[in-house]
Structures are given as C-alpha cells and as structure tokens.
Amino acid sequence: MHSIADIRKNPGTILAVGSYRPGYQAILDFDVLTGRASPSIVGIVGSNKRYEKYFWGNEEVLIPCFRTMSEARQVVPHTDWLLNITSARRAYQVTEDFFTAYPQAHGVHIFAEDIPEVDAIKLFDTYGSVGKTIIGPAGVGLIVPGFLKLGVVGGVDWRQIKANHLEQSGSVAVLSASGGMINELITMVANTGHALSFALCFGGDRFPTTRPLDAFLAAEADPATKHIVYYGELGGTDEYEIVELIEQGKLTKPIIAYVAGVIGESFDTPVQFGHAKALAGSKDETASAKRQALAKAGVQVAGSMSDLSQAIGVLPQDDITESHHDFSYRQASLFTSTISTETADGYAFVGKSLQEWSAEGDIASQITAGLLGRLPKSRVTTELMRTIYLLSVDHGPQVSGALNTIVTARAGKGVIDSLAAGLMTIGPRFGGAVSDAAREWFDGVEGGSTPGELVEKRAKAKQMIGGIGHKKYRLDLPDPRTEILARYADKLAVHPYFDFAKVVEEITTQKKGNLILNVDGHIAALMLDVLAQEEGYAARELEQLITADFFNALFVVPRTMGFVAHYLDQKRLDEGLFRLPDDDVLLVE
C-alpha cells in the first residue's frame, strides 16, 4: 500500500470515473479548505459534457470531462489516483483501463457494492500485490486530512468536513470495515477534541482489496499516527492477522477496537447482516471470539459505543485550529463565459483590454483570438486567418448570399435585414462546405482510411466530397486563390490533412478536370494542419471544432463584411425594387 507519509509529501491528482456530483464537490471543498492551489480532480471520465462546473470555494471552476479513458489520457498525461464511481459490473474493467492508461498511478478507490468475489481477488492479485493501493469495493475510500480526500469518506457536505477538522492533520487513525461507521468514528474523534491522521475504509466485502492488515501496517508506518481506532464486524478472520502482527512485534501502536455483531450470537442459525462478509459461519468468525483474541493481544476492546467514545475521549488532545471558511452563501452561475469580461477599466476580450487591442492595431490577430477563444501561439495561425479573410470577403454579386442581400436591400429593408437575408442563405450548397471538408479530411486521417477508399465510397453513394470541385476552375485553369492558400503548407514541418486532401484531388481530377481541391477544401485542410502543428490541438479538440461549425465560421466572418458592402453599395445606387424579368421565369401550366 502507498505510504501515508508519501501522500502528505505529494497528494497527487485524481481522475474520477462515473457521475457523482455531490461527492466530487465535497472533494473540491476539501481542497479549498486545505489550502490547495488547484482542484485535485483533474478530469471526469464518462460524461458527454465538455466541462462540469463546480464550486471552488465561493468561486466556480470548470473540470474537464471526457467520454473515454483514452480521451482523458490525451489531455491529462499524468494522474495519481482513480476515483471509480462506476457500477459493480463496470468497476473492474474501468480499473484495468485506468492502469493501462496510467501505469505509474498510485491507486484506485472503488465505491460500488456487489463486486463479485472473483473480481476482488483478481484486483488484489493483479494490482494490490504489486504495490498499488486498491481501496474498496463496498467502501467509502481514504482521507488524509489536510492532503487528500479520495471518496465520500468524511461526508459530502463542506460543513461535515469543517466540523470534523478534516482540513488539518492529527494523531488518530480510523480504520473501518463499514462506510457508515467510519464517519461515525471520525465524528467521535472530532467531537472529543482530536484530529485524524488518516481514515481508511476497506469495505464490508469478503475479500477487501486493501486487507485490514495492510491498513494497520500503513498506520504503523505513518509517523503522524499515534493511536489507531478500529471498527470491525463478525464474519471473516481478518482480526486474527492483526493479532499475529501484534504478536510478531510488527504492530506496536496502541489500538482501540470495536467488533460489532455479538447480536448474531443470540440466534440459532447464522444471520446475514448488512455487509457481504457479515455472517459468522464458524465459531472463530463470531464477534465475541474476535474481541477476545484482540483483547488477549493487548488491544483495548470496547464493549459498546459509549465505551468506545470514552476510550477515544481520554487520548491526548490535538491542537485544533478553527477554519474560517464559510461557503453558505455561494450560488451557482447561470451561464459561463471564458472570452470576455467587464472591468472597472472597460472591457477585455480574449485576454487583452480593448485599449490594448486597439494599440496593437491588428484585426486579424483579434479575429483569430476570438475564434479560438484564446490568443494564438503562432504567427502562422494569424497570417492564415488574415489570408482566409482577405480571400473570402466576397465572390461577386452573382452568388446566392450576395444576391439575397442585394434583393433585400432594394426592397427597402435596412442593414440588419439585408445582412440576415444573406447570412441565412449560407448552408449545405452555399458557403457552408468548409466544415464538411474539414470533416472529410479529419475522418480520413484519423480514421485511417486511404484517399482512394474515400473517393470510392462517395462515388458508390453518388455523393459529393466536401471541398472538392468548382464550377469554373479546372486542373488546366487553376484557381488563383488556392495557389496563395497552398503556400501555407510550406510553412509547416508536416501537413497530413493537406496531403490527404491533395491525394484525393489527384484521384478525382483524373475522373473529371474540375474536381479540384477548391477554396473551401484548402481552407479546411490548412487550418486543421496549422491548428495541429502550430497551436498544439489534439485530435479530440479538432473534432470538437468541427462539430461546433468552427470551419464554417472562417467563411461567415469575412463574408459578413462582404454582404454589408453589397448592402451599402445598393443603398448608394438606390435602383428601386427588384423584380425578375418575365423571360427569366419558366411558367409551367
């Protein structure tokens, strides 16, 4: 088992799997109460959200969420603990996945009840016996006051954490088979003027993955622990191993113990109590026999809860410092923004005040920061954005969007209506193909299919490939705009998305000369490559951008400028209402 003293030196971080909001919130409250600088939970796996919002003291903080363990591994390269809140049927697999992704991690707490015996034994043999700490199943975890809270142990309400002085390290270790009773004992320790050194619940299953004897040895090895308080139950023979440790001189610290279940001896047939292990099949498994064996070895055995409370009460007191934190009045916000703030000095947009933006004087840089939600790391990104803007601002009055803007302006409408008419034209056939193209190149590269397979698949389904084909330009009449865009590939060390798109173009242009890689296809491929190479975007972040229609936004932003220009042009000309000439309409009877 991982040493408690080491946890105090470096508590490490936690990856949580499963959904358990109050439990996670309590861990973050514990972090704030103990003065930790950032949340110990670095990610939550098994959520469809990008982030979950939690309180961080009286403020709020976003904890990143991931669908799978491998997705988490991409973003969180290192973590120390797994908080496994999945069901009994999934808990084993999730633990295995965790150690595959994070072989260096210290350990796991498994919360679920009803883990099969064979799985518990396998967990112990595979991980516990090679030094990993597996706490549970059917328990509430481990708490090292002041340093680490791994599980619901100690409560899910910040008031419980505060009332039990869990923000400070003390001298009494509490070890328990029962999740409910560990908190009862923690409260008893706190109510009698003591603080905890640590508390560990090994759970009420037949084969706990942290054996009681491991927990006792951890307490013995922990310099802060002066006294051990133990809660055990009838069933099983773990207490005899404790007795053996004492007799061998390996366990020397004073122990106060309560072994519950003498009630079981009042009945003729063995009774199965709440926990899986709580059934005395033979005489040595009864509470009385185990109490006797412990007492004989020198353990102070309490006969009742009041005895136990008294025995703890007379232990030397710890210095308790009252914490001044109060989270009573915190309120969750209704929505979240990460890009802009209003301050006393005015407004800030993506990390800079508007005055700073103005002084810098680069609109391309501001657009890039706005679309990424953070300042770009590389000048190449801003330059590509500028080029895209300048090349996409307008493609003539004939195109659908410009035409609708013009028609609306001539109908006497104002700038908002005319611009909206133009913007609302953007869609699958006009201007909305950049995201489609990005999807093609991304799926191709990430999914591992070849350009040939993509073309074959689309041809069979008689579908267009996003980013391929132009009405006017052909292989022998190249689009001058794409030549400018293509130069960006030279600025990158590697450009897998652009390479993929170019090979697709090679195949399609053999079939038909105008099936070239068009402007949309270039923008999509090059922006993917620039974001991956220059801005450090992981595949999953690119995927999120595609889903969010980021690539179509690259078109919408400059074209908005183009539509407004057309609107103002029409107002200057003031030609009056537009009506299609009769010749241009085929009237079918």
């Binding site: 009840e113 099969p116 619901v152 419980q160 908190n183 003498v262 009630i263 899986a276 709580a278 009742s304």
Partner: protein, 377 residues
C-alpha cells in the same frame, strides 16, 4: 452481495455431466413424476438447502415412478415445496468420501476425508486440508473440472458428501453449493435456483422486491415476530452496532427485526421500506412497542430526504401506531442533519409519539437504552 445457497438440483446440473436428477415442485408434482423412468429406483429428497436431511426424515429411498407421487406428497405435508429425485447409486458405506472446496483470498482450499458420509462430524481427525489441487488424492480431471465450474459460475463453496470414486468416475451423492450473489449476472444460475431456509414473511418479500428494483440497498429480516423493539436503521455497520447494544443489555429477544437501508435511497423508497417495518410491528404481540430510527453519521445519504419518506409512512399508519402506544426514538447524523432532525421532531411531537431525538453529537446507542426503559416501564 453475499454468499447464498443453490438448490441441490441447480448445483448438480452445473457440476455433473449428463446429470440424471429431476427437480419437482409442489405445484406441479405430476409433471415432475412424469419425467421419471419406469424400472428405475430413485432417491427422493427435499431440496431447500436443509442440512442433515436423513436424520430429519426428509429423504425417501428406493422410490419407483409408481410410488413417487405419494412419497413427495408425504414430504410436502411437512411444509416443503422443492424436491429432487435422483437415480439410486448402490454402494458400500466405506466407499463414501468427503470433499469441500472453498474460495479463499490465496486460492481454493480443499478439505478431504476418505471417511465421508453422514457421520463425517464424528471423524474430524480424518479431514485433511490441502492448499494445492495437485496434492488432493482424487482424480485430477474431476478436480480441475470442479474448480473451472466454480470460477465460471461464481461458486464460493462446494461441499460434496458423500462422494463416490470408482476409478476416474466420481459421483456426487449430495452436494451443497454457496454462490456469490454479486456474480449472478455472469453466471448461468438465476434467482430461482437460490434456496432460502425457512419461509419469508410478506414484509420481508416486499423489502426484497424493493431492493431488487433500486440502486440503493435494503434488507429486512424478522427475528422475533412478537418483538417489542423494531429497528429502522441505516447503514450496514451502524445497524449491527445498535442491535449489539440490545444484546449487551441481555435483551436480544426483544428485538423484532434486523435490517438496514443505505446507499442514498429516494424519499419514496424510504417510505416503502418504512411501511414494511410498520406492517410487521403492528402484527407483533408485545405489551409495549418502540421504533428505533437510527443510523451513524452518514457520508452521503441525505437525512432530510430519507426522514421525509419515513414521515410519509408514519403518517399513513398514525392512528394504529397511537392505538398501540408505539413510541419512536431517533438518532441520526449526516448531510442535512439539522433540518432532518427538526422535521422529525416536529412531526413526532405533534402526534405525541416522540420518545427522543439525537444528532451526531450524541452516542449512537443511547436510543436503545431509552427504548428499553420505555418497554420495561
């Protein structure tokens, strides 16, 4: 969540190739008998996980198809529902061996004795423990198949007595198997293959159904149908500790039930659970009765929410509770402790059935003393 017993029929169906036994239920005796063969002699046994059936007269030997119905009906008259009929295997008493295999943390533990049979307990010195399968003096092919089946079917304990060995062939004349109920979803046995010793009260069955349909956990077992103290407890550990306190006072016989709810049940689930406890309490024949609503300091179960469910149930049966002069004693801690306790105190006081109310600053077991005082007064 625990080790439970398989019926002998289900156990042998999994452990024995081409098993020749027939399961017979009391509601369809004729169907069962129809599956027996003419000209074959059978042994007919009650199959409800009961030990020492021979000595209790729950076994019939040399039964033919013709008189099987009568044999089963005789056994059914004693109140049993499940039976098993197996072809008789003629053998000498000194052929009988004993074998048990139990899953331990370190691996399987084998106990073997060449002197098996009904009197095994008289020869404890003949039982030898083996920690390695290779050392057990029985055919290895048989042992390997047994352990494979135990692993695949989540069996935790198998006891075969007697076991008859003739060359490589091993016959299981009687087999008792405990399975790990947590593994049921991966095993081929089901709920129907589990036998429970004794019959269940209606309230126990209601709680079992509640438990099956909820992510929270509920248990309820009647210990003394005419008990005076009825426990409505939360948490596996706290519930034993509180029951212990009655035993400490020498009053274990006054306890009506053992049970607990835990794992954050909803208000509605807590109400249903409470109804089952009240139902059983009202049937008890005791001069004075008390309910103890108690638990440790919860880690995550919401005290206010669960107490609201308990109050819903108490309110429904208030007239009967008052008529029976039932008093209620409360001790609980955890999330929303103050609000929950205040809610409960107001409600109980209003109806005049409030014995006492304690929070996390008072020792868990005070309520037992107070309830005993009321009952003894």
């Amino acid at each position: 969540m625990a080790r439970v017993k398989l019926s002998e029929y289900a156990a042998k169906s999994l452990l024995v190739d081409k098993y020749g036994g027939v399961a017979i239920r009391v509601r369809s005796i004729d169907d069962g008998v129809a599956r027996l063969s003419d000209g074959q002699k059978y042994i007919v046994k009650v199959d409800q996980g009961i030990k020492k059936r021979g000595k209790q007269g729950l076994i019939r030997l040399n039964v033919t198809k013709k008189d099987a119905k009568k044999a089963i009906e005789e056994l059914a008259e004693k109140g049993f529902e499940r039976f098993i009929a197996e072809p008789m295997l003629l053998h000498d008493d000194d052929e009988e061996r004993y074998l048990s295999v139990e899953r331990m943390r370190e691996g399987m533990r084998f106990l073997y004795s060449p002197k098996g049979g009904v009197d095994i307990e008289e020869h404890p010195e003949s039982i030898v423990q083996y920690d390695s399968i290779k050392d057990v003096p029985l055919p290895q092919s048989f042992l390997n198949r047994l352990v494979d089946t135990m692993n695949k079917e989540h069996m935790s304990f198998v006891e075969i007595n007697p076991l008859i060995v003739r060359g490589e062939a091993c016959s299981l004349l009687d087999a008792a198997v405990l399975v790990d109920s947590a593994g049921s979803w991966q095993a081929s046995w089901g709920d129907d293959d589990i036998v429970e010793v004794g019959t269940k009260a209606a309230s126990e069955e209601a709680v079992a159904r509640l438990n099956d349909g909820s992510p929270a956990s509920f248990s309820f077992r009647v210990l003394n149908p005419d008990g005076a103290i009825w426990l409505l407890l939360s948490g596996g550990g706290a519930s034993i500790t509180i029951a212990d306190e009655a035993a400490n006072r020498g009053k274990a016989d006054l306890i009506g039930n053992y049970g607990e709810y835990s794992g954050g049940p909803t208000r509605e689930e807590t109400q249903l659970y409470t109804e089952a406890v009240i139902e059983q309490l009202l049937m008890a024949n005791a001069p004075r009765k008390a309910i103890i609503i108690a638990g440790g300091v919860a880690n995550f179960t919401d005290v206010r929410k669960t107490f609201a469910g308990i109050i819903d149930a108490l309110r429904q049966r208030m007239a009967e509770l008052k008529a029976a002069e039932v008093m209620v004693y409360v001790r609980r801690g955890g999330p929303n402790e103050k609000e929950g306790l205040a809610l409960m105190e107001r409600f109980l006081t209003q109806h005049g059935i409030c014995g006492s109310i304690h929070g996390s600053s008072d020792v868990l077991t005070t309520v037992i003393d107070e309830a005993l005082e009321y009952i003894d007064a």
